[in-house]
């Protein structure tokens, strides 16, 4: 009897709590991207995809690399390619990583000429090599090819804080017009709030789901995305 009496009471209390939460979460129901000022450049797929996934990532973070290589890569070839997911990369360079800000600058510069996907992959694929001394330039150059690399190098020149190898462009940053894009991503991350990288934020049918941090395997994340679309 006690059980029967207490259980509905407990549920009534918790559902009131849930309603209170609902009101506050409605204020944040728009995708984080929608609150950004300029149009996002670091995206994969079509904007009209039912699922919007924002990934807050740091190019020097090993967990971000593992997440990219073991999960996002599969998702890009599968659910992004088939128009189910619109993937938005958000830079969240952590202060403890000396080269992640420069890596983000290269990626943003590449995004300016429509080659973000290539540089994003090159940075993660070679993370274990360039994180030793910050020499990411050679891997970006190899991935982009000479013509596009020159264009990206021109954009990024004057922005870099780390001297990497024979980089002519590697100087102390003063007025870098790429940085506001990165700072904007960081500010969005702090709103989420992002406490660690990688963190994903999913929006489906205008409803934003709670952020999740860590490495998730593709089969499990696929199940989650399927359950969202079947809802």
């Amino acid at each position: 009897m006690l059980v029967l009496a207490l259980v509905p009471a407990g549920f009534a209390q918790t559902s009131n709590h849930a309603q209170t939460k609902t009101v506050s979460s409605k204020q944040h129901s728009k995708p984080v991207a929608a609150q950004a000022l300029p149009a996002p450049m670091k995206t994969f797929g079509v904007k009209s995809a039912p699922i919007n996934m924002e990934v807050f990532s740091d190019y020097q973070c090993p967990a971000c690399r593992a997440f990219f290589e073991n999960t996002l890569r599969y998702m890009i070839t599968d659910y992004v390619a088939s128009g189910k997911v619109y993937l938005v990369h958000r830079d969240f360079p952590l202060p403890m990583h000396p080269y992640s800000m420069d890596a983000a600058r290269w990626a943003n510069a590449a995004a300016r000429i429509g080659r973000f996907e290539t540089v994003d992959a090159a940075l993660f694929d070679n993370q274990d090599k360039w994180t030793k001394d910050g020499s990411m330039e050679q891997y970006i150059s190899a991935a982009l090819g000479p013509a596009d690399f020159k264009r990206v190098q021109k954009i990024v020149s004057g922005c870099l804080t780390q001297t990497s190898g024979s980089t002519a462009a590697a100087q102390t940053a003063h007025s870098c017009d790429l940085d506001p894009f990165i700072q904007q991503d960081v500010a969005l991350g702090k709103q989420v709030p992002v406490n660690s990288t990688p963190t994903i934020v999913i929006t489906y049918k205008g409803q934003r789901y709670p952020p999740m941090s860590g490495i998730f395997t593709w089969p499990i994340m696929k199940q989650y995305l399927d359950s969202l679309m079947a809802q």
């Binding site: 207490l6 990288t197 860590g214 490495i215």
Partner: protein
């Protein structure tokens, strides 16, 4: 003597109800819709899939076992919460609760010392695994152990009290 027994029983009741409440809240937090949508089978499937991602982030189970574990745990927590609330065979409910909390605590300590920056997943998504979550789960484990020991002691005392009475009755007849 009677006074200390009554205090012991009250403490046991409070501990049992606290654990029951915590388990019921934990199950509810995992099953409830994670976005402002109405309750439905679909919303529960989404919540359980989301919990599966949290289980997955602990990097302990192979993908084939992650989903079954994630679908089993919240209903099992609900069952334990109701069992503790009922007070039936409390010493066994306490044992099971302690064992489950010991597993949770062990997994969390391992993940924390491996440096995994993940969500705890204890009361739904959004809570980061850290020293505070470890302290909380450690305290819950201590409480569950106290309830279990208390339940065993009270059961033994009751058994001891009933033996002389039975013996006396047998002697009279």
């Amino acid at each position: 003597m009677t006074n200390s027994r009554s205090i012991g029983k009250i403490l046991l009741l409070l501990g049992r109800l606290a654990l029951a409440g915590i388990f019921l809240v934990a199950a509810y937090a995992k099953l409830k819709p994670q976005a402002p949508v109405p309750w439905s089978m679909g919303s529960m499937r989404v919540s359980l899939s989301m919990f599966a991602m949290q289980v997955d982030s602990y990097q302990l189970l192979p993908p084939s076992l992650v989903s079954p574990a994630a679908h089993f745990l919240p209903p099992f927590e609900l069952f334990i919460g109701l069992w503790l609330l009922s007070g039936i065979a409390l010493r066994y409910a306490g044992l099971l609760t302690s064992a489950l909390l010991a597993v949770f605590f062990g997994v969390m300590v391992r993940s924390y010392f491996l440096g995994l920056e993940i969500n705890c997943g204890c009361f739904g998504p959004g809570e980061r695994l850290g020293p505070l979550t470890l302290l909380r789960d450690g305290s819950l484990l201590a409480l569950a152990l106290a309830v279990t020991i208390g339940a065993f002691l009270i059961h033994r005392r009751r058994a001891a009290d009933s033996v002389p009475a039975n013996t006396a009755q047998a002697a009279v007849s």
